[in-house]
């Protein structure tokens, strides 16, 4: 099995505060890993460190993606290399139609792959096809990005972007927050459609619920900036029963 993402002894901070403290994780091609942790464990920080958000400083450690040094890459380079962050709180961008935004994203990826830009007709066809599966209609993609979208619509748009960009590594940060059960099924369906034995996922969550729909190969318990225990999907169930307190104490 080929490793896709290799994180070794990662330390990172925001301002003066160290949040990631000696984090290790290897994700191979085709694997789905869940990272579960209590509030304040540093879960969102982990997702931002991996995607290169400004303000998150890596103080030591290495991250390799497809063997390349990820830390040296800008946020946009990481995206073009195949990393996608499905955000907990997708950002509203007034004045930018969703379709325009999606087209820029698609063409940025195509340019990176030395492919010609997709023309409008081809692009709209792609968006319609993928959108239909997620219950996203043409009206929705004419609206400005996420502006006035319900929680469910925002997450569906995240999933649509994932479906179109087809990343090698999808990072899902609390993908179920703000979703009712029907919306959750739609989103999980979109995510599962990308599981083809090649693509990998890092599912970050503090509830086990999501993992009923996106079943992980591995589960890691994340507390105080590093992984305290790893196991298979049953670890999530155990966690649900006992709560985090037991595991955090084990350390």
């Amino acid at each position: 099995m080929k490793p896709l993402l290799e994180i070794e002894d990662l330390h990172a901070r925001v301002g003066d505060k160290e949040i990631i403290k000696g984090f290790n994780l290897t994700i191979n091609e085709g694997e789905v890993h869940a990272v579960m942790g209590p509030n304040g464990a540093g879960k969102s920080t982990l997702s931002y460190v991996l995607t290169g958000k400004p303000g998150y400083e890596i103080t030591s450690g290495t991250i390799r993606f497809k063997g390349k040094d990820l830390i040296a890459m800008s946020a946009e380079e990481r995206a073009r290399e195949g990393i996608f962050l499905c955000m907990q709180y997708p950002v509203e961008i007034p004045g930018v139609p969703t379709a325009t935004f999606l087209k820029h994203a698609v063409n940025a990826a195509r340019k990176h792959q030395n492919l010609p830009e997709m023309d409008t007709f081809e692009f709209l066809k792609l968006v319609r096809e993928e959108g239909r599966k997620l219950g996203i209609d043409n009206e929705m993609i004419k609206r400005p990005v996420n502006v006035g979208f319900s929680g469910g619509e925002k997450k569906r748009l995240e999933t649509l972007q994932m479906s179109i960009l087809k990343p090698e590594l999808s990072i899902l940060d609390e993908a179920d927050s703000g979703l009712d059960i029907d919306a959750l099924k739609v989103v999980a369906g979109g995510v599962n459609a990308l599981r083809d034995g090649q693509r990998s996922m890092l599912v970050i969550t503090h509830y086990q619920r999501l993992l009923n729909y996106i079943v992980p190969d591995y589960v890691h318990i994340f507390a105080d900036g590093h992984i305290v225990k790893s196991g298979d999907k049953n670890l999530a169930l155990e966690l649900e029963e006992k709560g985090y307190a037991d595991f955090v104490r084990e350390k």
Partner: protein, 427 residues
């Protein structure tokens, strides 16, 4: 070598009323001069460039030939003609002198060189110099001192102009510090409708210095509709000062949109008098600049009658060490009840050294009115930038998209889709 007031031989010195008007302009400008730091109206925009002593007045072209040697203006690289992608009537000025043209206007539409109108048109005489108050506008006084070139437009009662009328002002200054004036008079008779676009640009010599001084006097008659758009794209060392003075009769509607993006010192001032019941004005503007430029949007809206309406949205993007200025005054006269006046200014600062000065002024002397103003300035949203970058979009591209999005809603105030699309390409 000389300052702004020079002895010039002007056309029409045998027309007493014209001479009197020019003389008054000279007197007022002599008295007011180039405004200094103590003049409240010019507190933020310092017209230092205009204290130069090397101004040269352009000479009337012996024949209308172009620097590239063609007989007429052309599409060659000399920039003597810059077509804009609009199905429109076009009037071209070069250094303030009008080029011959081949427009065929429909019946009821009178478009004359200003001197011709002064010589023979009653309406021109009735309105010229009567709408703009030069006592409070030094450069309008200066413009009046040189009153000669420009265009007179009259749309007769009930006539709707079928295409936009575009006034294109080319400046070819070369090495000279050129200074010229342009004076336009627009008379919209009752129930008439028109769209007028002003476009200022230069011949491609980026470093040329010059000063364009424009005054538009506009009379909007009963139930008439005038949409007045402008794009100022002058050279980056140039100065551009413009005053549009507008009076609106009952039920008349006036819409003004100005995009300023060129010049080192640019000021676009719009003064509107809502004279009778039901008169309505929209005065919107956008500005975008970097370097060391100062671009000033100044508006004065006077509600002089009950049930009059005004709305303004002004948005600007400032980068580098540039400075954006917005001064907006809404005056509501004592008896002007049931009026509505709204004003909003928003600016985006793209650098730490960019500056915004904003001065809203509300003078409300009547009860029972709705009046509001707001101002906000900020930077590009880091969360939005990261969101776009995390989707693979280049940082520069993401910034460009966000700036465009910021200006999008003010551009939407431009009713005419072809004009709006053209303005978008100028950003």
């Amino acid at each position: 070598m000389a300052g702004l007031l020079q002895n010039a031989s002007l056309w029409g010195d045998d027309i007493p009323w014209l001479c009197a008007l020019r003389e008054k302009g000279t007197d007022v400008f002599t008295r007011l001069g180039v405004p200094g730091a103590k003049v409240e109206d010019w507190k933020y925009t310092k017209p230092r460039l205009l204290n130069a002593d090397d101004f040269v007045l352009p000479e009337a072209p012996a024949q209308h030939s172009c620097s590239c040697g063609c007989e007429d203006y052309c599409d060659e690289g000399c920039g003597c003609r810059r077509n804009i992608p609009l199905d429109a009537y076009q009037i071209h000025f070069k250094n303030g002198f009008r080029h011959p043209e081949h427009n065929h206007f429909p019946e009821g539409v009178t478009v004359l060189p200003l001197d011709e109108a002064i010589a023979g048109n009653e309406d021109c005489r009735r309105y010229l110099g009567k709408i703009a108050d030069i006592e409070t506008a030094p450069f309008a006084a200066l413009n009046t001192a040189y009153l000669e070139n420009g265009v007179f437009i009259n749309i007769a009662r009930g006539i709707k102009l079928d295409k936009p009328l575009v006034i294109i002002c080319h400046t070819c200054a070369g090495e000279r510090n050129l200074f010229y004036n342009l004076r336009n008079l627009v008379v919209m008779e009752s129930g008439s409708e028109a769209e007028i676009v002003e476009y200022f640009h230069y011949d491609g010599i980026e470093k040329s210095r010059y000063f364009v001084n424009v005054v538009n006097e506009i009379a909007v008659g009963k139930n008439a509709v005038l949409k007045h758009y402008k794009c100022q794209d002058d050279a980056y060392k140039a100065a551009h000062v413009s005053l549009s003075a507008v009076q609106i009769k009952a039920g008349g509607r006036y819409q003004n949109f100005c995009l300023q993006k060129g010049a080192d010192m640019g000021r676009n001032e719009v003064r509107v008098k809502l004279q009778d019941k039901g008169a309505e004005a929209r005065v919107d503007a956008a500005y975008k600049m970097s370097g060391w430029a100062t671009l000033d949007t100044t508006t004065v809206i006077e509600h002089l009658s009950p049930e009059t309406y005004s709305e303004q949205l002004v948005k600007g993007v400032v980068d580098g060490e540039a400075k954006g200025v917005f001064q907006g005054k809404i005056h509501i006269a004592p008896h002007a009840v049931h009026t509505e006046g709204r004003q909003l200014h928003k600016a985006l600062l793209l650098s730490d050294t960019a500056e915004i000065d904003c001065k809203p002024e509300l003078e409300i002397f009547a009860d029972d009115v709705k009046c509001s103003h707001g101002a906000a300035s900020g930077e590009l949203d880091e969360e939005q930038l990261f969101y776009m970058r995390s989707r693979g979009i280049d940082e520069d591209e993401a910034r460009r998209i966000l700036v465009e999005a910021f200006l999008d809603d003010v551009l939407l105030k431009v009713d005419s889709e072809p004009v709006r699309n053209w303005l978008k390409t100028m950003l």
